[in-house]
Amino acid sequence: MTEPLLEAVDLSKIFPVRKGLVFKKTVAEIKAVNHVSFTIGRNETVALVGESGSGKTTIARMVGRLLRPTSGRVLFDGSDAWKLKGDELKNMRRKIGFVFQDPFASLNPRMRVRDVVSEPLAIHHLMTKKEREERVRDLLVRVGLSKDDATKFPHQFSGGQLQRIAIARALALEPSLIIADEPVSSLDVSAQAKIMNLMHQIQQDLGISYLMISHDLGVVRHVSHAVFVLYLGTIAEVAPADEFFQRTLHPYSKALLSAVLVPDPEVLQKRPPQLLKGEIPSPLNLPQGCKFNTRCPFMQPKCKEEEPPLAPTDSPEHTTACFYWEPIEKGEIVPRF
């Protein structure tokens, strides 16, 4: 196997909660991300899946060098991203592009499309003005917009079109990785499909890797090669995508998957969504032991005391952080709802 494009090693992020108006002291900690490791290969899409408080956006920002990890390393192309300086850092910046959730928010409404898309080129002092204009036009055409859109302002576009502009901007520096944080979740269904197809096409044409953050497993199904399920900052399950959607092992993954409503009444009748009890616990007050134990229908006494490690299963590259995945799968532990 070739060297991975990106390696996240044992990443953790703790946000201190400070009190006091003058002398601020840390009174609590939010453990947003706990010891998360993963790799992204070349030309591969890795999906981080989870609900609010799962830490997926925090991970994306640490990987993209927008937020400093409390501990752990990010290796990009073999070098430690958080130790790079000067030209090397600039170089790494060029290799990572970003696409954010809400295109209305991630594009400066006061800039023309031309300036939005060429902003990365301008920041890195690349190309002459004329060459940049040429490049902007190429990029717009590549993402399915018209050359003439360059002079318009963001408010003249729909959400889907704006997300195309955001993708064009991310592609401007010819990155090898694009970090996409919920790139389609604020879009209409028909626009969603188009953006996902566009991202797919770009991967095929340019050999780009994606780190895809999403809460929507339907979206994840269509784009990703590997799936990481996060719950309260901890990895619950890792599997190759094809396997994941055939066979989930962690009770949280199962619940999450079943809560995705397929638009087919018959399928839902056969396999109705499994209702979890209670709310997602506050990250300020994480449960002892397995973080899912407060809502898990299969909860056993041990789950309240010990935190299950992410451990291999009987299938290659499929790991899960549940003590009881095997008895659950065999039906030896009955769920309590």
């Binding site: 269904v189 028909s190 188009k194 197809n197 497993l217 199904r221 809560a259 638009p263």
Partner: protein, 342 residues
């Protein structure tokens, strides 16, 4: 035209709780008239959950607000049509009468529960307020009843929660408070506008199941406005699909989702990313949702994006045509002379 049936049949016994007849709600903006709702007719029967689906700009929220007579005015105004609730036309009703219906017989749950709750008032008080105005109970017993209702919608330790402010609650809890307010007076019709859009997946399932419980236990009819066809598939009995302010298709959920008949419904269903399919490309609908200010009057608004479009689609507006039992689509394909049309 031959073979065309009207959906609305007032003479049917045991008929509709609510029926919309040719509702037109337009927004009069400085950029032109936006025909947000442009001739929509459907009915909601007692005890049923009716889904109203559509994408941005389809007019689904405006339909809900029209029923409640809560349109932002200016710019919105009902320009035509009737909204019959238990046989009475809501569009003609004087303000003080519609007010008696709001919150008691018809109530509404909105999309964003944080901003939809008053930030400065304790949630118990916000629920008891609606009880007080419609039942005339004094404030103490009304608060007690509010706590009872908060319990019924699945809020643990309802007494404590009642004395909290909205910002202290989670998104799911806030939406339960909104639902408690809406069902406090046991309405006959509950309009839920995207009630789960900003909620987490697992919480969404809980809230939807709560809505279904309310229907089952209280017999409330629900108009569920959503963009998510999965939600429709799970809890709706019937569904109406809107496109650019007009009804594209309407029928029992099973029929519409398993046998979609309007080309828009078909395309929409194919473009939903599903967990039970394969990795790879999705089918898409070509083109963009049209700008509502620039729509022609006499056409099928979907024709620029429709793979089957003929010239008639550009010059005439299709009527609803019956496809199956209670299942209608507004598409010329189902007219008898489609083969011969150009």
């Amino acid at each position: 035209m031959n073979g065309v049936l009207k959906v609305v049949d007032h003479n049917r016994p045991g008929g509709a709780l609510l029926s919309l007849e040719n509702l037109r709600t337009h927004l009069f903006t400085s950029k032109g008239v936006v025909k947000a709702v442009d001739g929509v007719s459907f009915e909601i029967k007692a005890h049923e959950i009716m889904g109203l689906v559509g994408e941005s700009g389809s007019g689904k929220t405006m339909t809900g607000l029209s029923i409640m007579r809560l349109l932002p005015s200016p710019p919105a105004r009902i320009v035509d049509g009737r909204i019959l609730f238990n046989g009475e036309d809501l569009t003609k009703m004087p303000d003080d009468e519609i007010r008696k219906i709001r919150g008691s017989k018809i109530s509404m749950v909105f999309q964003d529960p944080l901003t939809s709750l008053n930030p400065l008032i304790r949630v118990g008080k916000q629920v008891s307020e609606v009880i007080q105005i419609h039942s005339g109970l004094p404030s103490e017993p009304a608060l007690g009843k509010a706590i009872e209702i908060l319990e019924q919608v699945g809020i643990p330790e309802a007494g404590t929660v009642a004395s909290q402010y909205p910002f202290e609650l989670s998104g799911g809890m806030r939406q339960r408070v909104m639902i408690a307010m809406a069902v406090a007076s046991r309405p006959e019709l509950l309009i839920a506008d995207e009630p789960t859009t900003n909620l987490d997946t697992t919480i969404q399932a809980q809230v939807l199941s709560l809505l279904r419980q309310i229907r089952d236990s209280q017999g409330t009819s629900i108009l569920l406005i959503t963009h998510n066809l999965g939600i429709v598939a799970w809890i709706c009995d019937r569904v109406a699909v809107l496109y650019a302010g007009r009804l594209a298709e309407i029928g029992p959920t099973n029929a519409v989702l398993r046998n979609p008949s309007h080309p828009y419904t078909q395309a929409l269903l194919r473009s939903v990313p599903r967990t039970d399919s394969e990795r790879g490309k999705l089918e898409t609908i070509p083109g963009e949702v049209p700008r509502l200010t620039r729509l022609p009057i006499n056409d099928c608004h979907f024709h620029p994006r429709c793979p089957h479009a003929k010239s008639v689609c550009q010059s005439e507006q299709p009527d609803l045509i019956q496809i199956g039992k209670d299942h209608f689509a507004s598409c010329f394909i189902y007219s008898k002379d489609w083969e011969r049309t150009k």
